[in-house]
Symmetry: C2
């Protein structure tokens, strides 16, 4: 990009200023591309998605070579888990391509008009679904996010500026080249998806400071990244912080369902945000539930930490839970357990210690299910189902850019609709007030 700047300018400026200028230029190009994308027909957007999928498969060898370089560069610095996330192979490339084709198959979210009604004045008022404009996405090691995020932004008629992890820089550039080619092949502006080239962290700061060019930022990654973005972005942020999810097993629970749900919510996967971290059990049913359940959980290798009553019931092999346990997202085979007197105490616990992500009640009582559903202020509230269902694909969104724990705009799993907005449309025939 610095080719766009004269040599003189480059010599004059500090690296920070130069990067800011590069990012500003990128933002302007994105804004111009966003106008094209907003008006693009569904057919053109889908053609681009298929063309990108094709380019990824055709570009197989250059992508894998670039990825091998990232893997080599990272060998000494990155741990096994990070290297595992960074690695691309034939299967992962095919999954990326298939993901693009699946997004193409989704209904086009843009341009639909709803609630078009005549008003007493004679005008007709409705709402049209429109793109947000330019979306900035900041993410960490997985290079497949480059293709996934591009696909969702493209389908929803937005332009995107993508900033991946520096450890995946060569992989991301190789994927970006395929995206560019696919967009151009379909007659759409290549600037509709731009991948930041520099690995300088100043680029992130510059991106967060240009609200005139970027309408919303989506950070995807660890808590440190998300907090940094939330604290520094001058535009709205769609973000996901903690997932401290609860299952409350009520007096009126069916014990078999309760045990199945608790085991699944804790053990199906440990590292996901919708995994149960705290189990709440009504006192009157605690013995019948916790004795068999604790055996199942221990067999699965889950460490139990409990309140006093839980330890009295299950024995001292259950470690004592401190206040910090109620607030912690373990993301590990650890479960905090608390026995409560009744549902209201469970709701109080959830509202006090939870993260408003996903919380479930197990009960056969319609009355209590209704009350819990209404009182718990979380992005997903469930009755007799595992918290692990809180997911864009399970909910039928067809795709997911992340799960939002914010209350405004998008709440819970965010699919294409979360990358759009509604504007009012008014039709008259010379009407005046």
């Amino acid at each position: 990009m610095s080719a766009n700047l004269s040599d003189r300018e480059n010599q004059d400026s500090s690296p920070q200023t130069r990067i800011e200028r590069q990012m500003q230029a990128m933002g302007k190009r994105a804004r111009a591309a966003a106008r094209h994308m907003a008006a693009a027909e569904p057919g053109a957007k889908n053609a681009a998605l298929f063309a990108i999928a094709e380019a990824l498969i055709a570009g197989r060898s250059s992508i894998l070579a670039a990825n091998a370089r990232d893997m080599r560069d990272g060998r000494d610095e990155l741990d096994t888990a990070l290297l595992e996330r960074l690695e691309l192979n034939d299967k992962r490339l095919e999954q990326m391509a298939e993901g693009l084709r699946q997004v193409a198959a989704l209904a086009d979210p843009i341009g639909g008009i709803t609630d078009l009604n005549y008003r007493p004045s004679g005008i007709q008022v409705g709402r049209m679904r429109v793109p947000l404009g330019v979306i900035g996405i900041i993410y960490e090691s997985r290079p497949n996010v480059t293709a996934d995020a591009a696909a969702l932004c493209l389908k929803s008629g937005n332009a995107a500026i993508l900033r991946g992890g520096s450890e995946a820089t060569h992989s991301n550039q190789a994927i970006a080249a395929c995206i560019s080619r696919g967009l151009t092949d379909a007659g759409l502006p290549a600037d509709a998806v731009q991948v930041v080239e520099t690995t300088d962290r100043a680029a992130v700061g510059a991106l967060l400071r240009m609200p005139e060019h970027v309408d919303v930022i989506v950070p995807r990654g660890g808590k440190g990244l998300i907090e940094f973005v939330a604290d520094n972005a001058q535009m709205p942020v769609i973000k996901h912080l903690d997932g401290v999810c609860h299952v409350y097993i009520d007096d009126d629970a069916d014990i078999e369902k309760a045990i199945a749900i608790a085991v699944n919510a804790k053990t199906q996967r440990y590292g996901t945000c919708n995994t149960m971290e705290t189990l709440l059990v009504a006192d009157s049913i605690a013995e019948d539930v916790l004795k068999p359940l604790s055996q199942d959980l221990r067999q699965a290798g889950v460490e139990l930490r409990g309140c006093q009553r839980t330890r009295k019931l299950l024995g001292a092999s259950v470690k004592p839970a401190a206040d910090a346990d109620w607030a912690e997202e373990y993301l590990a085979p650890v479960l905090a357990i608390r026995i409560v007197d009744h549902m209201d105490e469970a709701i109080d616990h959830i509202e006090t210690w939870g993260s408003h992500h996903t919380d479930a009640i197990v009960t056969e009582s319609v009355t209590k299910a209704r009350a819990f559903m209404r009182a718990v202020d979380s992005s997903s509230v469930m009755v007799n189902a595992s918290t692990r269902f809180a997911d864009g694909f399970e909910y039928g969104l067809g795709a997911e850019i992340g799960i939002s724990t914010d209350k405004l705009h998008a709440r819970g799993p965010v699919g294409l609709e979360g990358l759009t907005s509604l504007k009012y449309v008014v039709f008259g025939d010379g009407h005046v007030r």
Copy 2:
């Protein structure tokens, strides 16, 4: 409120710290009240709205006395327009009470579940409309906002912290006492609507710095206030900045409709955000439209500023328009006029200089109406109607807390729905993944 703090604490702390502590305590009470309000039945909320209306009428003499004191205090400092806004009388009190009754008559927005569908896994997934939680509203001189804003927050199941202008402090406190009484009479927590008592500006800063207690801030007032809030709030802001609204008169416009709409959009009221500030006219129709229109506008006392082509057509009595004119929200009997070659140039002008508030096209061409509607990225886009229709009441929202020029969450006129969010609800029967 300082009665809640011990004397020792008061003595120890600087005014700033004391105010911060007061605001924190207020925030905690609001959060607790919000939980009650979220579960409150429609009947109780409506009963409170009627009871507040009654209390306002019954409290007539004390409210008018408090208002007289504000008027007396402000006599030397405030200009006539501000004093006019500040003044209460029998008619305005009755309007406030009637506004409360009208909000009671609206459909309850909370708890409705939509899109409840079975998924392949067997779970049922839907979305429930829920309150945002605690809403902070910061506004200027009009004391009626205290009752209006309280009504909307209450009806939408939220708790509110209201901070009015210091010039209206006695009026606002008197109205707050009526709100309190109405809430209590209906069995709802009085803390559901709290009015900040201190006139110290530090209270505003403290309010903006407690995202743990306040979910969203709505600033209502001049641009200075709104920019201060947007820059300093640590929570999302629903805000309205400029209203630089355009009418574009196309080649294919009906000339009579075009003139009627342009006159109405400019002259019906000058000081409103949905008033036209720039008129764009297609070259081929300019003479037929602008000659009669300019006479009408001049008769109404509107000063005209035009591009070169406009001045060539209408004469040198039209002042030359500088770039600054295209960006200005006059809020006055002044109109900028520009002749463009075609619709695309008009759209470019709107996207370059506009504020994405409300923009209209006058045309008989279906093709151009469709293209304009799609391409113009404003909160309201109109065909053959006056921009003055961009209003919550005209759109059928039943009430309006403001007009948002943001893209995320609420866009355009914001009614009750803008004070709510959607959470996912999931029903299963022991379902696991």
